[in-house]
């Protein structure tokens, strides 16, 4: 989940929670999760300093909290991505050669 959210925020810039869900949703139906669980996860990442939040106005003039990746978050993203790749590569390898 963290990997997905960080990736989306890295590529698409500041987004509010709903937009993040929509993006993940649009990109892949398979990764559909309970939408609400995004928020505790966002708040944990905010607490850890990977992302930061600020209040913005939407096009309909509503207040919303937009999240933005931080430098710490980018470093974390790089590490998470590498780890993910190594795991999937290892699994691929097993699947191919077993």
């Amino acid at each position: 989940m963290a990997l997905l959210v960080l990736t989306v925020l890295d590529r698409r810039g500041p987004l509010h929670g709903y937009a993040i869900t929509s993006h993940i949703h649009n990109l892949s139906d398979a990764l559909r999760v309970e939408e609400g669980s995004l928020y505790p996860s966002l708040h944990r990442m905010e607490e850890a300093g990977w992302i930061k939040a600020r209040t913005i106005k939407t096009e309909h003039n509503r207040r919303a909290r937009a999240y933005e990746i931080t430098a710490v978050g980018r470093r974390k993203l790089g590490m998470e991505e590498a780890r993910w790749r190594s795991i999937t590569d290892a699994v691929d390898h097993v699947l191919k050669h077993a």
Binding site: S22, E35, S37, Y39, H43, E46, R62
Partner: protein, 894 residues
């Protein structure tokens, strides 16, 4: 987000809740808008959006825990609830807080005294390195002596060089000085002569000017400089920076000498003796010239700073050799030729002790250490009584709150939360009690110091609030919280929701033994306090009823000083003029003069008993004028008293002795008309005993001392005894003026009454008796309240059961018994333990008791009877209520 903002969030958590809600609502509404845009009906869209979002409440809580510190949040909530619950039970809370704060305050006050007098190190550099020297006093009951002479100081200082840096601080003096030259007004200061390196050795810095150095201590009489204490500078001169360089005049036995103020010490430095701060320090070289080289002039305390890496035993053995040598050298001038050789050896081989001076030597401490520690222990016991009382109240209340607890448990609260809730309530009570106790202590401790003080010996203790005191207070508060919070907390956490919610009224859960344990504890602790207190009170009563042998009432003591130095004859004449003038005043029955006050510091003289080579008698010397025995109403047993004619004799050799001396010195033979050889501060002469008077107790604690009354030699300082006719004490106001009229050579410095002098000597005993009886009373009341509460609660709790029993034909007495038995057994067990504890504790007060023993019938019966009486009174009302339970009413309530 930092932890600070999380704490802030916990303290005002509603803002976090709002923003979380807003974020979630925004999400759902956006989803609904998208779905509606996609062609769905609004209702369906809302349903789907909600379902996709998941459990909104749970997710919100999850986020909330991230943003707040969950434990702090629950803590804040529990504190709020705690305050609400405590305010709901206002009376109980007030009682708990007040009883606790009284006991806590007493403890804190006692500790601050113990700290100031016993524990706190001197405010100097590395006090642990400081030592001072003592020698045995020869009396096993008296503390060691710490007065040395100049030759001993010089020898020990030179010997110790390289191992220990010795310096001398003379015993404090209270000279009259003149700061204000224009008016010439005199005031009394506390001064000390110190060797020049004292401040260097102590590591004390100057707040203004400079302090004394060895340069100020070279030539006897040649360094008229002085240093003020910071406190005195502030109080007398309001911290005037122009003080350095000012001159003042000291009026003492060396005459009127001007001194220049060269500096002020650092703020917290008061000298080397806690309780008796010094105002003015002057160089050792400026003291009484008779002191130099005089082995008989013991007026110095010897201090030292031990060098790094030197052990105290090394210092002791080094100094001991020098001490023995110097005593051997001067022994011929000090030992009586009549002394047996082993006694002379004992004189020479006097042991020298090296003591730590980290807290400073203090006669006050020697006298009050034990009483203060006893009072602290008593206060701690009362605190335990108060604590168990509150514990019992809390326990009862927790039982009453079982339903609330059960409800919270069934709604999903953790048991930890319930324990936390109860502990927080007890911490709130303990904290409040602590604050009030602190205020109480702030008044109580100085009041106790006030009772240690007498007019001519003021005691000033620094009772500051510092980290040591705060540690004790915090510790006491935590201990109290644990003591009276833990049992109820355990009870709260062991609630079984099913049974508690099912059963209505009556006993909810079986009562644990905790309540009875607390009753037993209270009884035991308060019995110890009452036991020890009753011993101290009876001891004080015994002492007060001791007949001192003279009539202290209606006697005024008038202290005189010389206005200017004159020849002995002139001064003698002046004293006689004053005596004549005062004696003629209407309302004055008799007047006399004495060298020092009866009950003051005695002058002793050791005389060999004739016919018994090895025996000596230690006689108290009392220089008085004619009329003394009449004024003090000391009965004459044989012979005659002094008459005016004796005073006129060129070299008076007549003496009067008391019965103890007559018996000890002359045996059964008649004393009057006998001669004996002795020199009382003058050449040895033959003295004729002209009279024998009744024994007088100069110290009420001790049997009458053998006393020799001699005629008053004329010196600068005297005290007049003025016996006024009954009730005419108002004349005191006129005496000052009358003395001025009688002679220009003398003036009055102070007027007190003999009665206050006598009661002043019992200050320690009075303090102990007063405070211990007060504590005993508080302990008794608390125990009675505790018993009453426990029993009342039991009656209420078991009303239904009793009601049924009575309805079924049981007799009222049976229900009373059923309620009382448990508590009565607990009380008796507590009393037995308390009695054993009291007997044990009495060993620590034994040395302070006067004609009272712990193992007497009265010592045991009195406190035990008082306690059981208090317990019975406390039990009477609940017992009566139990007997009056009306089955109709109780059962209808169901």
């Amino acid at each position: 987000m930092s932890w600070l903002s999380r704490i802030a969030n916990a303290l005002r958590s509603s803002g976090v809740d709002d923003s979380l809600d807003e974020e979630i609502t925004f999400h759902i509404e956006s989803r609904v808008a998208d779905l509606v845009a996609g062609g769905m009906t609004r209702d369906a869209a809302v349903t789907i959006a909600r379902r996709q979002f998941g459990n909104r409440l749970r997710l919100r809580e999850e986020s909330r825990d991230v943003k707040l510190m969950p434990w702090l949040d629950s803590l804040v909530r529990d504190v709020r609830l705690g305050v609400r619950m405590l305010r709901k039970n206002g009376v109980m809370t007030t009682a708990a807080v007040l009883s606790l704060s009284l006991a806590l305050g007493a403890c804190v006050a006692a500790f601050s005294l113990v700290d100031a007098l016993i524990l706190r190190p001197l405010p100097v550099h590395q006090p642990g390195q400081l030592i001072y020297l003592t020698v045995p006093s020869g009396n096993p009951e008296a503390p060691d002596k710490d007065d040395f002479s100049d030759p001993v100081f010089v020898r020990l200082r030179d010997t110790g060089r390289g191992y220990v840096d010795l310096f001398a601080i003379r015993y404090p003096d209270r000279p009259r000085v003149t700061f204000d030259m224009a008016s010439g007004d005199r005031e009394t200061v506390r001064s000390q002569f110190v060797s020049g390196d004292t401040f260097d050795r102590l590591g004390v810095a100057a707040a203004a000017g400079r302090l004394l150095t060895m340069q100020d201590d070279r030539q006897p009489g040649a360094h008229p400089v002085a240093v003020l204490s910071h406190a005195f500078w502030m109080q007398r001169f309001a911290g005037d920076p122009g003080i350095v360089g000012r001159w003042f005049v000291v009026h003492d036995r060396q005459g009127d000498r001007p001194f220049e103020i060269i500096g002020v010490t650092q703020p917290d430095f008061f000298g080397a003796e806690p309780g008796h701060p010094t105002d003015v320090w002057m160089p050792y070289a400026m003291q009484d010239p008779h002191a130099f080289g005089n082995t008989g002039y013991n007026s110095l305390r010897l201090f030292g700073r031990v060098k790094d890496g030197v052990r105290l035993e090394q210092v002791q053995s080094l100094l001991q050799v020098a001490f023995t040598n110097v005593r051997r050298e001067y022994a011929p001038g000090h030992v009586d030729p009549a002394w047996p050789p082993d006694r002379v050896e004992r004189f020479i081989n006097m042991p020298l002790y090296v003591r730590s001076a980290a807290t400073g030597p203090s006669p006050l401490r020697a006298e009050f250490q034990r009483p203060l520690l006893i009072l602290t222990a008593i206060a701690a016991l009362v605190l335990l009584v108060a604590g168990s009382n509150v514990a019992n109240l809390f326990l009862a209340r927790t039982s009453a709150r079982e339903r609330e607890m059960s409800l919270r448990l069934s709604l999903g609260a953790g048991r930890g939360r319930l324990i936390q809730q109860v502990l927080i309530e007890s911490a709130l009570v303990a904290g409040a009690a602590c604050l009030i106790g602190l205020i109480f202590a702030a008044f109580a401790a100085p009041a106790v110091v006030g009772t240690l003080t007498s007019a001519d010996d003021p005691v000033l203790l620094d009772l500051r609030v510092d980290w040591r005191l705060l540690t004790v207070i915090t510790g006491a508060t935590l201990l109290m919280t644990a003591l009276f919070g833990l049992a109820p907390a355990m009870r709260a956490s062991s609630v079984k929701p099913m049974t508690a919610l099912k059963v209505s009224g009556g006993r909810l859960s079986p009562r644990t033994g905790a309540a009875r344990l607390f009753v037993a504890m209270q009884v035991a602790f308060s019995l110890i306090v009452v036991f020890v207190g009753s011993l101290l009170v009876r001891s004080f009563v015994n002492l007060s009823s001791v007949n001192p042998g003279f009539a202290a009432s209606d006697v005024l003591l008038v202290s005189l000083e010389a206005v200017q130095r004159v020849e002995g004859d002139q001064q003698s004449a002046a004293v006689l003029q004053v005596l004549d003038r005062l004696g003629d005043l209407p309302g004055v029955a008799a007047v006399s003069a004495a060298e020092f006050n009866v009950l003051g510091r005695p002058w002793r003289n050791t005389l060999p008993v004739p016919g018994a080579a090895r025996e000596t008698i230690e006689a108290t010397m009392a220089p008085v004028t004619s009329g003394y025995f009449e004024t003090m109403k000391i009965p004459l047993v044989a012979g005659r008293t002094f008459v005016r004619r004796d005073l006129d004799a060129e070299d008076p050799t007549v003496v009067i002795v008391n019965e103890s001396f007559a018996k000890g010195y002359f045996g059964r033979e008649l004393a009057v008309g006998r001669l004996f050889d002795a020199g009382f501060g003058r050449a040895r002469t033959s003295n004729e005993v002209v009279g024998v008077v009744a024994d007088v107790r100069y110290d009420l604690h001790k049997p009458p001392a053998p006393t020799i009354y001699i005629l008053l030699p004329v010196r600068g300082f005297q005290t007049l005894q003025v016996r006024v006719t009954a009730g005419a004490t108002a004349i005191a106001a006129r005496l000052r003026e009358e003395v001025r009229v009688a002679t220009p050579l003398l003036r009055v410095t102070s007027i007190t009454s003999q009665e206050s002098m006598v009661s002043g000597t019992l200050g320690r005993e009075r303090l102990l008796a007063l405070l211990s009886s007060l504590f005993g009373l508080v302990g008794l009341v608390l125990t009675a309240v505790g018993l009453y509460g426990t029993l009342s609660y039991a009656v209420v709790q078991r009303a239904r059961e009793i009601g049924i029993r009575i309805a079924l034909g049981a007799r009222a007495i049976g229900s009373v018994r059923s309620v009382l038995t448990d508590t009565a057994v607990a009380t008796l067990i507590g009393a037995a333990c308390g009695l054993a504890g009291g007997l044990y504790a009495s060993r620590f007060v034994a040395t302070l008791l006067f004609e009272v023993a712990a193992r007497e019938v009265w010592s045991i019966a009195l406190p035990l009877g008082t306690l059981l009486l208090a317990a019975s009174v406390a039990a009477a009302v609940p017992a009566w209520r139990a007997a009056r339970v009306d089955p109709v009413i109780t059962l209808r309530n169901e």
